[in-house]
Symmetry: C2
Subunit: 452 residues, 2 copies
Amino acid sequence: MLTELKRLLGDRATGDDGVRQEHGTGFSYHQSMPPDIVVYPRSTDEIAAVVRLCDRHQVPIIPFGAGTSVEGHILALRGGVCMDLRRMNKVLELDFEDMYCSIESGVTRNQLDNILEGSGFFFPVGPGVNATIGGMAATRASGTNAVKYGTMKDNVLSLTVVLPNGQIIKTAGKAKKSSTGYDLTSLFIGSEGTLGIIAELTIKLQSYPEFSKAAVCSFPTIDEAVKTAIKIIQQGIAIARVELLDAFIMNAINRYSAMDYREEPTLFLEFNGSSKTVEEQIRSVEKIALELGTAGFLWEKDELSRKKMWTVRTDAAPAVAALVPGAKMMSTDVCVPISRLAKCINETQTDLKNSGLMAGILGHVGDGNFHLAIPILPDDHATLEKAKDLNERLVRRALAMEGTCSGEHGIGIGKQRYMDLEHGKSIDLMRTIKQAIDPNNIMNPGKMLPDK
Amino acid sequence: MLTELKRLLGDRATGDDGVRQEHGTGFSYHQSMPPDIVVYPRSTDEIAAVVRLCDRHQVPIIPFGAGTSVEGHILALRGGVCMDLRRMNKVLELDFEDMYCSIESGVTRNQLDNILEGSGFFFPVGPGVNATIGGMAATRASGTNAVKYGTMKDNVLSLTVVLPNGQIIKTAGKAKKSSTGYDLTSLFIGSEGTLGIIAELTIKLQSYPEFSKAAVCSFPTIDEAVKTAIKIIQQGIAIARVELLDAFIMNAINRYSAMDYREEPTLFLEFNGSSKTVEEQIRSVEKIALELGTAGFLWEKDELSRKKMWTVRTDAAPAVAALVPGAKMMSTDVCVPISRLAKCINETQTDLKNSGLMAGILGHVGDGNFHLAIPILPDDHATLEKAKDLNERLVRRALAMEGTCSGEHGIGIGKQRYMDLEHGKSIDLMRTIKQAIDPNNIMNPGKMLPDK
């Protein structure tokens, strides 16, 4: 197999042990399972050639973006070929008149930000890591901007996909809307590499807001912070970001990022639009937060400090990890209808206290989505088991509230056991689709859908 | 078959000739093809029982909402059972805290508007007819509000679907976002009854805007009207509606609705939000429109006249039909990236003039979506052929501009011939999905996907 792959890709196919190890685990807390071979295609045609070869030999293919997924999406459960897409990093078309951009799937978030710098446009979807845009599509990623701009599901116009049989398809054209045929774009977004390989994307761009303002505001208890977020959403205020960080997280970021925030449950807020719109929104939100007991708002004074504040927020996960040197992070990820969020977080906080685990609560509360960040040392099986139990209770709590076991991280192998509970008989339909599109089960086998 | 169906549904299964004829054509210009039997289920379980029976006998099922689709979606090409869903019209849950509403699929737009009246919430998707919400999901409908609120694709949380094997599934929970498994909701939206029957929907509600203002503004030529719309979008102004009506349409609605608008290319505009936001938007749009040569804005003075204006807009299609008593309407429906809209409409206008056909141009130009409304007498084959030719040239023009052959009407049988041209090899993947989910091809057979 390696010989044949080398014939296709030369040095860009390797069985090197170090390279294989690097591709075995990603950011997840799961045990490493390296692939047999790693390949680095540089074009959609090369991807297709590798896929056809793997199909012929019935060898598993694991698509790999930046390895930043957290549920074991990229573990080579059954060996096979890891397809590292980071050399697929060209921008194919920038169209500011129609507000879209076509890229290869290995372009990363930071790279895209740099490309768009100064254009007046930006891509709003951003998880807290420098993921590839293709990987973000594959896991239906979101992040802090989703409350205003939606998730990957809402921000992709079209995909170029290599199917398990090696065929290359485009899922849609470039019109803003269309009613012609099955929505193939949405089918591949969130499919976690189990139906094909996303090789190129046409993504929607947003106009840079005229004006942005950000603030930090803390509360005596987490309940009041969450209720503030809920009221903001229920009043229909088009806030740009509303993030919750509990006292534990605030302590961790004060240490990690050398800040001196109050170590209380806190909301990080951002408003954008015209200056008048922003003023109006701020007035409404201040009223809600003051009624719910905030000590006040700490406004970021300029663009630099606003950016700094969001870097601090992005660094919350590494900040927690840094509390336990050498630890990997388990990050839970439920999402519930907004009215049930306070109850869900309160019960989770109590559960967390009782568990004796060290962890923080943070999340995109405007979407009803939150995480526990739990640092775990690689060999600390007792803590891992405790954390898994806590996560299981959390998932069951969220599902009982008509929520979901993952708002944005996906299933991988970490959440397969909850798929039946969440989806019931729909799992059969998902299996039917998988079986039809990937009859030899070569695409990221063993992921997402639980075994029967 | 009828005997067995009567055993299940009593009088709500019928082979009556008049009833069959009523279900044979809908609003489309296509020749009537009535089903053999019409059934009126009143619950999801009844739908499932009928589907199981039809599956056993391999009898086609044609889901029927309000019969307002325009591309022949509900023609019984191969006979079979028409499933009229209008008695599935119960509201199941209204949750204003979480801003959603669960309904049976036969609830119509007008019924839903009445239910939500006074609640402070509304459902934004609205085609120009009193369609059922289930039918709107099945065709991925949109309408005048889509430029701000999106289409059915963006406004459904979850569906209850009866699959071709009689299984009842729910496609998702009620969280605002989720990354757990294939996006089944999106798969059924726009599937035109070919994969299963949408029995229930959970749809997203929007807060009623604090303030709305609407205006009519006309231009010397259609080019300036379209360019105004393009600039509005490109400047990122969050306009609520921006509709184009050409001089022909303005003449038709003046007659039909007894108005005295200037009979020139015209934009119908709506702004909503806080009063300050609306003021800002209006200033920006006035500036653009004046630069492009509008004679000025005719502002609607109160809520009543604003509503009247949108009723007049909704009645544009019947207004054109009324010009030719007894005529049915052919409505074309392309959508292109916004920067290419002016060119597409200009070339289409020239083509229309040269064709000698009588027709008007109107559309949701903020989305890059427009229609030709062409009245055709049932027996006037020559005009029908001319109109089909014009439509074909229009579709090819839109596709050459990376657009789509349907922005919102769907494929049915009317646009099957363009599916290959638009989707290329993706059609094979769509066929694979259809074959896997509906192996006996009982669900609306012969629609959407062209024969091989």
